[in-house]
Symmetry: C2
Subunit: 244 residues, 2 copies
């Protein structure tokens, strides 16, 4: 038996505050931002030297919010509309070793902190390792993409209610954040609902997810998702979506 001794490089601070609304893969939402401060014991002044020359990094993360107790060898990826594939043919978080692999854009290195974009990870995620993306080792020419090749992510047309546009303008000032409308559009356009939401909620039901310091309330009808408003000061009720 081997003991796997691992240490966190740091804990990610992300714009995503809960699973709901967090993109299913990196790249889908280029404006999704996060910061990773490397713990002092890893001596960031030395250990990060030279990283700023790379445009992208790998984050190996620990899926700390997994709640499943039982190993399920088949999973139902959102983009397969109910069909199942083997766990190891998927990027599901529910794995024997709950490790995530995310390619993030390295916006800049500022002292002990990496500023990242295009991420698909939740606030509070432990990052076990950071590695530079080296194209010559990490890129497979002419790779075949298996079942994902014929299964694009489901998408929705995004609309904004007048109230939402006013709330975005206010949030943009408060957070000093550019590209907020685009960020919300990219997130909602991927159809963040899971099959259960779709079954329970049917169309036209008001749903919400937390982002930065607000809750985004939206509604799906037909193939269109409409952002209704951004609410601040609400508490994150983790089980809101689960209660009938």
């Amino acid at each position: 038996m081997i003991a796997f001794q691992l240490g966190a490089v740091g804990i990610l601070r992300s714009c995503f505050k809960e699973k709901f609304g967090t993109p299913r893969q990196p790249h889908l939402v280029p404006g999704a931002t996060a910061a990773l401060t490397v713990a002092p014991e890893h001596r960031p002044a030395l250990s990060l030297a030279g990283l700023e020359g790379f445009s992208h990094v790998w984050l190996i993360s620990y899926f700390h919010l997994n709640t499943n107790k039982k190993f399920l060898p088949k999973v139902h990826p959102p983009r397969l509309k109910g069909a199942a594939v083997g766990l190891f043919a998927s990027r599901s978080p529910h794995r024997p070793s709950p490790l995530g692999l995310s390619l993030a854009r390295l916006v800049k290195v500022e002292g002990d902190t990496l500023h990242l974009a295009g991420i698909d990870l939740i606030d509070g995620t432990p990052i076990l390792d950071v590695k530079p993306y080296i194209p010559e080792c990490d890129r497979a020419a002419g790779a075949s993409a298996g079942w994902t090749a014929d299964a694009p992510f489901p998408t929705l047309t995004v609309a904004f209610a007048p109230r939402a546009l006013a709330d975005i303008a206010a949030a943009r000032k408060r957070l000093k954040l550019r590209g907020l409308k685009r960020l919300l559009s990219d997130i909602l356009g991927q159809d963040i609902r899971n099959p259960r939401d779709k079954a329970l909620g049917a169309d036209g039901v008001d749903l919400g997810f937390f982002l930065h310091d607000f809750e985004a309330r939206f509604m799906v009808r037909g193939g269109t998702v409409t952002l209704l408003r951004l609410e601040t000061g609400t508490l994150m009720h983790k089980n809101e979506r689960r209660s009938p």
Copy 2:
């Protein structure tokens, strides 16, 4: 404090038997082969379903042969000829979480076993996770490669002694292995010696590394490495190269 609960998917069986001679990155030696048998508790008949459609997989491995006790925030990559970079700007195995990330070609899936090529991992390495390579998430367009862009791996011209060619012909039959000459050429052409070997050994000293079921003895003189012979039946003396 978070406990990181991880389980090995399986233990890799690789053509590489020791660190010396193992490629420094994947892809450098396309003929390097390995097999990974997924442990029965992970129910490979189900959990591998659909993986065969992918041409490449990620292996997240545990560097079980690390012997360093102390954290060193700077490392000296072989291709930098003595210069140092920050640990997190490198792919050194000596990391706070000793996790490897290798892109391997998936040759085929046979029952519970993945047949892999292009690998850079040693026999006996625990594999913590296998994930499909999905180009749309795992490829960064126009990525900048930092310090690696101007630092190609050192290479040598490869020559074969007549005795070596005869030994290769015999090994090819014994092992039922195609491409053995090419495999040896790709390995030795990368100059597998580390700076210490070069300093200690100077040119013209006979060195050996273990591969498949034999020991490959070679010599470097000038910019040329010559494979001298393949020996079978020798025992692997791990410290041979370290004793004067």
